[in-house]
């Protein structure tokens, strides 16, 4: 056998599994001394042992140097950050705390009561809008998926709707619908209440988003699934109904929930057309008392809704991912 042939290449002189001392990392981690100092000590020990040929103990010291260097990043940075935030809260005679977290508001039952009443309006708006969006977006998605040249005009109209409403800032739609429909005495919707206008405007905007989600969900079903169903003699409609849509629904749920979280947050803009929602009420309190604490309450209330929702969504996504990886 010929050991320096073309394929095996030149033999290199390397040491396998040698000792690592992590010296640079240890020095850098001195920026947070409580972890940096032990890191450096272990690192020095490691190189001394390595020089004496005590490989195994040297490796042990190297590992320790590495661990301490990591502590200096992880713990050090956090300590500095938290200290900075505490300082911020109490600097200027606590003015930050007073502006954002005024006790007299945070502990006032009246303020909470008022804010909760306002938030209940936001909740109603997004719950109703979500139901409307679910249906309306499906109609739009179906129209956009109609096949053939004959349906080009209607597909085009649906596409124009989706593209424009995805391009408009929601706040402008709220203004246009909330102020304009009443003024123009548009038939039927001309005598809606402000809350109804808010629901309508958000439904129009999010209907466009969600119809895209539906469409992507249906299109994400691999064509081979359709081929399999059609090859068994199922008609187009049967294939959609029994094979494509049941699979699409599962895939659609996470992006749908994502849009719904967006919708929930966007209810914060309906105050601009005079709905006495949680933001209007925060503004009212701000005007009466000159503190933003009510806005902090509003932010907290939104947090209480959107965080669990987001967690749930992430859980769904993770589960789906596991399934996909588990399956083929």
């Amino acid at each position: 056998m010929n050991h320096t042939s073309a394929l095996t290449g030149p033999p290199a002189a390397k040491r396998v599994g040698r000792v690592l001392t992590y010296r640079k990392a240890a020095i850098a981690s001195l920026f947070f001394p409580p972890a940096g100092i032990p890191a450096l000590i272990h690192s020095i020990k490691a190189s001394r042992l390595a020089e004496q040929g005590e490989t195994e103990p040297a490796r042990e010291q190297g590992e320790k140097a590495r661990d301490w260097a990591w502590y200096s990043v992880g713990v050090g940075l956090s300590v500095y950050l938290v200290a900075f935030m505490v300082w911020l809260l109490f600097t200027n005679g606590g003015s930050v705390r007073k502006v954002f977290l005024d006790w007299s508001i945070l502990t006032s039952w009246d303020a909470w009561h008022s804010m909760l009443k306002g938030f209940w309006i936001n909740v109603q708006v997004f719950l109703i809008a979500e139901v409307i969006v679910l249906i309306w977006a499906l109609v739009v998605a179906i129209v956009r998926l109609l096949p053939g040249k004959a349906c080009r005009p209607i597909r085009f109209l649906a596409t124009v709707y989706v593209d424009t409403f995805r391009a408009f800032p929601a706040i402008l739609v709220v203004y246009l619908v909330g102020l304009g429909f009443a003024q123009a005495k548009v038939p039927i919707v001309g005598s809606f209440s402000d809350i109804q206008y808010a629901i309508l405007a958000l439904s129009l905007t999010y209907g466009a988003y969600v119809s895209e989600v539906y469409r992507a969900g249906i299109e994400s079903i691999h064509w081979s699934q359709v081929a399999a169903a059609r090859s068994l003699g199922l008609s187009y409609t049967q294939t959609m109904r029994h094979v494509v849509v049941p699979q699409a629904v599962r895939r659609v749920i996470p992006p749908l929930l994502n849009d719904f979280i967006g919708l929930q947050k966007d209810t914060a803009i309906i105050s601009v057309i005079g709905v006495l929602d949680v933001v209007s009420r925060a503004r009212f309190i701000n005007n009466a008392r000159g503190t933003l604490a009510a806005y902090s309450i509003a932010a907290f209330l939104f947090l209480c809704v959107t965080i669990p929702f987001t967690r749930w969504l992430e859980w769904l996504q993770r589960r789906r991912q596991l399934r996909t990886e588990g399956g083929r």
Partner: protein
Amino acid sequence: GSSKSTTSPGGTTAATSAGAVVDCKPVKAGTLSVVTSLPGPNFWGTTNAEVDPDKIKSGIEYDLANLIAAKCGLKMSFRNESFDALVAGQVAADSYDISLSQVTITTDRAKVVDFSQGYFKSDQGLLVKKGTTVKTWDDVKKLTVGVQASTTAEYYFTSGEKKGWKLDNTKVFPDLSSAYAALNAGQVDGIIIDTPINLGQASQSGGKLEVVGQFKTGEEYGAIYGKGNGKKAIFDPILQGFIDDGTMNKLIAKYLGGDPSTVPFIDVPTS
């Protein structure tokens, strides 16, 4: 509308007992439907008092609305609308009787809504930190001045619609408290808004702020009625009664705690 608050007619003036009950043909039986745009400190709710719009129990326009309701033998009920919708005629005319929302009467606005006669003079006052010397228009021009969005101050001092009134350094705030906060923070040197409102702020500041001058706009707040729906004919006489018998002045003094006539006028050169 979202919020409705019903109170029994209250008031401290003699006006309640003056004259017989008037038939006001309310849009909703038994109720005087009033529209306003919150927040409106000291007009609907009092600074440092109410934190819940549904529990407003005080304020110049709140009291006025109750007085009118009493005159008509109705309960007063108010709801919130956006200021924009009110002045642009974008609130359905058949959904309210009268709107009291510190709206200045302008000819443009009068094209889309009906106004009552003025019930509150709204010359524009300049509020500054005590110690700032402002005597002439040239002094004013050196300042960075804050105004509230959608007010006549914004209209006059930022757009140049009124000859010579345009200021170079203005900031527009969404609401008054942020404007006053900016003044306290030194982000602006002065706030221009209706003199009585600035007087109210000055009196609350414990002497830290003062109103150093005002600009004659000749403008007044008027109530708004739906365009051409006949409410004007019903409510104008009632309003006039409250102005004539001094009720209005008492309300202003009660809530704003200052006399606008003591503030010197600053002339704006028109050339």
